[in-house]
């Protein structure tokens, strides 16, 4: 045995004995109660609706809506403050550079066409699906409404950037899953699909860890997408038909593809 091997063995032993050593008694019952509460109330995860469990840490004890309410209030206050500071005149000067005709309609915007200089169209494309695009034109054409282009610059750009990134990612994921589903039905397994899946998996996890996942619906979709991608990445030519059926089931039962398509903004013409 070489010195390196001997040192590795000693490190391994020491780490197993000492490094973050779990307690002898594992709190199974308490965790089970918390799991039941989480399931019983439809709690959707880390960003869920806030079970009041005694063993849950802070981010699970605080209801999710509190974060949104605080964020909305701060955004509103910031918007009002900046709006007051800038007033209509400077905004009017900015107007010709920042506005564009609305002939494209409310939601028909390609994610890749979104730019920072075009904030309202971005928001129409990627934010609330219930937003009526018809609200847009009067705000852009008049002098007064231009104030809305200036207030929430920092937060809006950040939120928009994440929304655009999420939209592009979901578009790519939808394309990949569509190709994969086609291959699956023909019993093929393309190595490129697996590599593609790995890239998407990494990006999905990054998005899950970003503000893009604050939207509960998007977060849920990303979580489901992550699970499907993990299964696809693990699929090999040796995998059994059952493994493929499981993925097919996940795609069908959880309606991942359908939800992806619903979440992706429609491309403009």
């Amino acid at each position: 045995m070489s010195d390196e091997d001997r040192m590795d063995a000693l490190l391994r032993q020491l780490a197993a004995d000492e490094y973050n050593r779990p307690p002898e008694i594992i709190p199974r019952e308490q965790m089970w109660e918390a799991v039941q509460r989480g399931l019983g109330t439809g709690d959707k995860g880390l960003g869920g609706n806030g079970e009041q469990g005694t063993v849950l840490p802070f981010h699970r004890r605080v209801p999710g809506w509190v974060y949104y309410a605080v964020a909305a209030a701060l955004l509103l206050a910031l918007g009002i403050q900046v709006g007051r500071l800038l007033g209509p005149s400077p905004a009017q000067q900015l107007a010709p550079r920042t506005t564009q005709p609305d002939s494209l309609g409310p939601t028909r915007v390609a994610p890749e066409s979104v730019s920072i200089g075009n904030p309202r169209r971005d928001l129409a494309a990627t934010d609330s699906r219930s937003d009526d695009g018809a609200k847009g034109p009067p705000k852009q054409k008049g002098g007064g409404p231009e104030r809305q282009l200036t207030p929430d610059v920092g937060n809006d750009i950040s939120a928009r950037a994440y929304s655009v990134a999420a939209a592009q990612h979901l578009t790519e994921a939808e394309a990949m899953l569509t190709v994969f589903k086609g291959d699956l039905s023909q019993g093929r397994m393309d190595a490129e699909i697996s590599a593609w899946g790995k890239d998407l998996l990494s990006n999905t996890r990054l998005l899950l860890d970003s503000p893009a996942a604050r939207d509960p619906v998007r977060r849920r979709l990303l979580q489901d997408l992550e699970l499907v991608l993990v299964q696809i990445v693990q699929l090999s030519p040796k995998s059994s038909a059952r493994d493929r059926d499981l993925i097919k089931g996940a795609l069908t039962d959880d309606q991942v593809l359908t939800r992806l398509r619903t979440a992706i903004p429609v491309k403009g013409t």
Partner: protein, 161 residues
């Protein structure tokens, strides 16, 4: 019962990665909540075991990233000890030095080292849980061990004699 069969191993892994009971409980609970919500997708024990560890590692690593971001603001730069710059005089306790060295490993190396060398997972299990190839897991373990040897080099003389 699926929970009873897997909870100990999931909790142990979460604790090893998180280093504290509250986080380990949270990650374990989150893992089972997510798993049970999608239980219909899985029909056999072996699939569930692999799958739940995939969820467990994902939940734990994502959760730890959030915690790390939060705590980074509180910690002083002076407290941060890089793997290669550990001074034995400053930190004479070997156990503490080992803990710091492992904590300072890159996330991928640390995860594989903890799963394989500390908790005894196979490279195939690790690969399945992390969504990588077994060869990647082996390579990361090799590099993790090398970094630990480097970080604790000043103890090597005593150990191998």
């Amino acid at each position: 019962m699926l929970y009873d069969q897997h909870v100990d191993r999931v909790y142990r892994l979460a604790f090893r990665l998180a280093g504290e009971d509250e986080l380990a409980r949270d990650f374990t609970q989150e893992t089972f909540i997510r798993a049970f919500q999608r239980l219909k997708d899985f029909r056999s024990e072996s699939s569930f075991g692999t799958w739940i560890h995939t969820i467990a590692t994902s939940v734990s690593l994502n959760g730890l990233r959030k915690v790390k971001k939060f705590r980074t603001r509180e910690s002083s730069l002076d407290d941060a000890l890089t793997v290669g710059a550990v001074s034995r005089r400053a930190e004479p306790d070997l156990k503490e030095r080992l803990k710091q060295a492992i904590d300072n490993l890159p996330e991928g190396y640390r995860t594989v080292f903890v799963m394989h060398d500390v908790e005894g997972y196979t490279h195939e299990e690790i690969a399945a849980a992390l969504g990588v190839q077994p060869g990647t897991s082996k390579a990361q373990l090799f590099r993790a061990r090398a970094k630990l040897r480097e970080a604790l080099a000043d103890f090597a003389g005593e150990w191998v004699s």
